[in-house]
């Protein structure tokens, strides 16, 4: 590698580490709030996962373990997506609130590296939380999953995360365009993505026109694949039908996400919105 290119790469990697480092500091400083939100997520997940037991208690004839695990996977993916979108949306929203946005955006750090740094942190933080959430909620139920292939599930989640990061980048620009309501639009995107992706049900139950959208949602394949890996013990070789669409969507969504963010940033620079107070 030429010396100049190596220096640029080193600069970018240090910058990426800086984005990660800053988020670690923030987690450390807000650790009690993080624990409080985790408790809330556990409670929220339990309200959904208990539906499986509830159906049986009200006379339904279901495989309770399977339904409970299906709901648990849906709830964990919901929480995971929430973390990814929240952290990426904070790329702008939190910085604007703290007043650091101008300093970050005028630093000689390329925007893709800046966003990848946020994405990388979001994945690491999100995966740790998802594993903890799955483990804690599973303790409330007598779930027996001896056949589950957790390694395949983790790999699939990481592959799906590439697409989630791409979509998250598109949402991250929303607070730049609308300082007041942009963050909430990110939550809307998360909700829509999960509704069309069969978060607590097979996508077959959706109306035909919604099923069309589910075929382009990475969450559809993530949910399917995770359930196959955990419920049926499908390994990576048997998850090809879920993995290849995720790879394709990932390849498309990252450049698209960067393009959308860059377009939003240009708009903000044109209209004077790249500043601390909206």
């Amino acid at each position: 590698m030429p010396q100049g290119a190596a220096a640029v790469l080193r600069h970018e990697l240090i910058g990426l580490a800086g984005v990660f480092e800053r988020n670690v500091y923030l987690v450390r400083r807000y650790i009690w709030w993080d624990i409080a939100f985790f408790v809330w997520t556990v409670a929220n997940t339990l309200t959904i996962v208990f539906i499986g037991e509830g159906v049986q208690a009200t006379g339904g004839d279901v495989d309770v373990d399977r339904l409970t695990t299906t709901l648990l996977v849906g709830a964990v993916v919901w929480a995971y997506l929430g973390v990814i979108f929240e952290i990426l949306t904070e790329t702008v929203a939190w910085e604007r609130w703290e007043g650091t946005i101008e300093y970050t955006f005028m630093a000689p750090l390329s925007r893709p590296v800046h966003l990848f740094g946020m994405g990388l942190f979001a994945i690491v933080y999100g995966v740790v939380r998802a594993i903890l959430l799955f483990g804690v909620v599973a303790l409330f139920f007598d779930l027996e999953l001896p056949q589950a292939d957790y390694f395949a599930a983790l790999v699939l989640l990481l592959v799906a995360s590439v697409s989630f990061i791409g979509i998250g980048m598109m949402c991250a620009v929303l607070p730049l365009i609308s300082p007041e309501k942009g963050t909430q639009l990110g939550f809307m995107a998360q909700g829509i993505l999960l509704v069309i992706s069969g978060v607590y049900y097979p996508v077959d139950v959706l109306p035909g026109w919604m099923q069309l959208f589910s075929t382009i949602s990475p969450a559809t394949y993530a949910l399917d694949g995770l359930r196959d890996a955990i419920l049926d013990g499908d390994g990576l070789l048997r998850l090809g039908d879920e993995l290849w669409p995720l790879v394709v969507i990932g390849i498309v969504s990252i450049p698209l996400g960067l393009w959308v963010f860059r377009t939003g940033e240009t708009y903000a620079k044109r209209h004077g919105k790249l500043k601390r107070s909206g």
Binding site: A7, R10, H11, I14, G15, A17, G18, V19, E21, R22, Y25, L26, R29, Y30, E98, G99, T100, E102, Y103, T104, F105, M106, A107, P108, L109, S110, T266, K269, R270, H271, G272, L274, K275, R276
Partner: protein, 275 residues
């Protein structure tokens, strides 16, 4: 840290017929919202030599902050251009960003994080590795007079003056060749103000930095700058050494010169436009 971007030959800052407008709401016409375009900068041109300090004076809404934000690559212009050491501010943003840093009226930090944490991650954005910052951050904080025993405290527990010292340390840490200062002492107590001004002098002398200072403070402008510009409603109507400005308007003070040049007293602040 030494910026790798070429700085040979060219003037430090060139601003050429720079224009910036903002769209503002102007009432309603039926259901449609009417909009008007407001000129924030209207054909501003000037140059700053390497190592020079130029102060730009102006009221709120005169376009001072817009000028700094344009040069900081945070805004796009409607017309004209600007360059830093020959690098086009709007086309070569990465190169320009390596050369500049900025201190503004608000210190702007993650408030729960400490001074060291804030400086540490900010330095990474400029390519500084942990080995370098572990040594340099305490040194720089000491140089700006920041107490060693408070470097781990959250920024929100520090006074405005202390926070502004950390802001100066942040700028110094990245060894900028051009330092953009946007009212860096506004709101500080007299002692903090003097300390910050002293430190600006040090940065200029020790690091051969070029300084563009936008300020309300006429005394500060006169003491720190070799040349003083007067920006009025987006137009740079004067740029000359303070003594020459006073001589030109037959004024004894810079305030009188400002009054004579703009036709209004310095304290007559108009309502703030986009800044």
């Amino acid at each position: 840290m030494t910026p790798t971007t070429n700085t040979n030959g060219a003037p430090a800052v060139v601003v050429d017929d720079l224009r910036k407008e903002f769209v503002r709401s102007n009432g309603r016409e039926g259901l449609r919202r009417r909009r008007k375009r407001v000129a924030a900068l209207d054909g501003v041109s000037f140059e700053v030599r390497r190592g020079e300090t130029v102060a730009i004076l102006g009221q709120n809404g005169s376009g001072k902050s817009t000028l700094i934000r344009l040069l900081s690559t945070l805004l796009l212009q409607e017309g004209g251009g600007a360059s830093i050491f020959g690098h086009d501010v709007f086309a070569e943003t990465r190169a320009v960003r390596r050369l500049i840093n900025r201190v503004s009226v608000e210190a702007s930090f993650f408030k729960k994080m400490s001074a060291v944490e804030n400086l540490s991650y900010a330095a990474r954005f400029y390519g500084m590795a942990p080995a370098a910052t572990r040594r340099q951050i305490p040194e720089i904080l000491e140089r700006v007079g920041f107490p060693r025993d408070r470097i781990g405290e959250p920024m929100e527990d520090l006074s405005r003056g202390m926070q502004q010292k950390v802001a100066l340390a942040r700028a110094l840490l990245t060894a900028p060749i051009v330092l953009l200062l946007d009212e860096p002492t506004t709101g500080l107590d007299p002692r903090s103000k003097i300390e910050v001004q002293q430190f600006i002098r040090e940065i200029r002398e020790m690091h051969d930095a070029t300084v563009l200072l936008c300020t309300h403070d006429l005394v500060e402008a006169e003491e720190l700058a070799e040349r003083v510009g007067i920006l009025d409603r987006g137009r740079l109507i004067e740029l000359a050494p303070p003594e020459e400005l006073k001589r030109r308007y037959g004024a004894e003070t810079l305030e009188e010169a400002f009054f004579a040049a703009t036709g209004k007293a310095f304290e007559d602040e108009p309502p703030e436009e986009e800044e």
